[in-house]
Amino acid sequence: MKSKKDKLDDLAAASAGRSLSGEAFRRMARSPVAITGAVITGLFVLLAIFAPLIAPKDPYERSMQGSVQLGKGIIPGPMPGYPLGVDDFGRDLLSRLLVGAQQTLVVGVMATLIGLAAGILIGGTAGAVGGWVDTVLMRFVDVLLSVPSLLLAISVAALAAKPNQWTVIIAVSIVTVPVFARLLRGAMLAQRSSDHVLAATSLGVKRRTIVLRHMLPNALGPVIVQATLTLATSIIEAASLSFLGLGDPDPSRAEWGLMLGNASSKFLDIRPELAYYPAIAIIIVALGFTLLGESMREALDPKNRR
């Protein structure tokens, strides 16, 4: 718990006074790792946006249900019109994978945004106000950090009488709240004692203006890095919740985590591709976000400035 905290504080402090500057951006543009991450992420986002247009078939239409015989262990593989075969309900797997990009992005982005918003609110308040408010909020955040993340997500998701897409998103996002809160507070604290904020204070600039114009923007670098990395972990964590039966109980929804969780426990010996394709998709996308986030972190790291 201590070192997780310290690491976040370090990250925050390391980039205090530095935003995603042009210099960091230029350094990223030269790094093959950053480019790979950006390309994967870019393609994924494009795919997610245009998936319904590209998908050759309706991902929800059980067009081949007749040829699926689960009792005999038969789920048809690739055939004309169905390049990757069909799933256990006779739906076109390719179309489901394509449209799944959209749903997966929604889960990842929404979970990250909710966590980010709550984290900024808590951490920003603690960092800007200080005093007992800071102590109380951070104590609370530390306790949340002291629960293993999957366990925290499980306990939140288990609260829902009827799980659905949103309970998963909220469960996954709550795990990220303490991380963002710590990060933002650390950055704000480092900012508060930094020279340019002292300068602004001594010039009589209003407190609100200082916080909004001088402190927040400079604290954003590490937050953006963390958000990018969180996108990856959120998608994986959502898949784990689906696997544990805490996901959307509607098995028709095309979301990679759901497809993977469903197929890997039931159909691996019949048609492993049903699990492998969404798994590969998740791995690639998570890798893309991780590469992008890590290279941003590296570009922002003052140790690498020469």
């Binding site: 999957l150 366990l151 544990l244 699990a275 791995i283």
Partner: protein, 333 residues
Amino acid sequence: MLRFIVRRLLQAIPTLLILSILVFAWLRLLPGGPAGALLGDKATPEKIADLNRVLGLDQPIFVQYFKFLGRILTGDFGSSLASGQPVLSEIGFALPATIELSVGALIIAVGLGIPFGYLAARFRAGILDNAVIIVTLVGVAVPVFFLGYFLQDNFAELLGLPSSGRQSSGLDATHVTGFAVLDGVLTQEWDAAWDAIEHLILPAIALATIPLAVIVRITRASVLDVLNEDFIRTAQSKGLRQPTIRRRHVLRNALLPVATTIGLQTGLLLGGAVLTEKVFNIRGIGYLLAEGIERRDYPRLQALILLGAVVYVVVNMLVDISYGIIDPRVRVR
């Protein structure tokens, strides 16, 4: 040193107290409240009202909390809805399997993580380094449960390893401690011990991937940091032999952050164990948890969440204390 340990122990108390408040609140956030959770599917408004009186849920909230606190401090977590047994004995029964699995995973993660991380740093930007970086990046991107099924499906047969459970059914191993491997060794039933180890291999690999990836990366980064330190240059200027420099100056310093990481990852193993045990059908804590989720067995879930958090807090405390022992700078602070 003793004062440092005592202080660190005292620091954990408020965390644990707040944690108990959160779990207490969690129980009240459940659909139908604690009574509804206890009754499960059988809940009707009348039954809930009855049970509320019996449980003292009509009393003031802080009275309820202190009663709750008193109960969990004496180890009374109620009875599982699924099995009807006291939750605590369920946990006691399942714990050895999870500990065994976690130890196996840790041995893999630490045993491979530190050497590979060190070698990657030493031969920075070489083939091994690049391979290690790629493997660790992919390692954290693979969902644990998928990896479990993947190993089960593709490697169990290939390597002749069992893919489910803790022991083969034909063996009638003597039950002493509940730790299958340890029991086999204690009773000198070597075939039983070996059988238990074989059962552990695949799930331990699956559970080890994420900690392994993290430990490799931290070790690598930490060694690189230390290699740039001034005191390494001093050591070189003394003309010390390379092995002395590596062991005494590089590793000794580089392993400090790694120790913290190992602690953190140990605390996190329970999360992965939920997934791994479900995949490999190992009746440990994670299995209890997964089953508890399926059956909405709230008394069991409550106990397990509290247990998981307490283990994590305690492990971190131990890490801090051991840090104080290996790093002289922490002690005097």
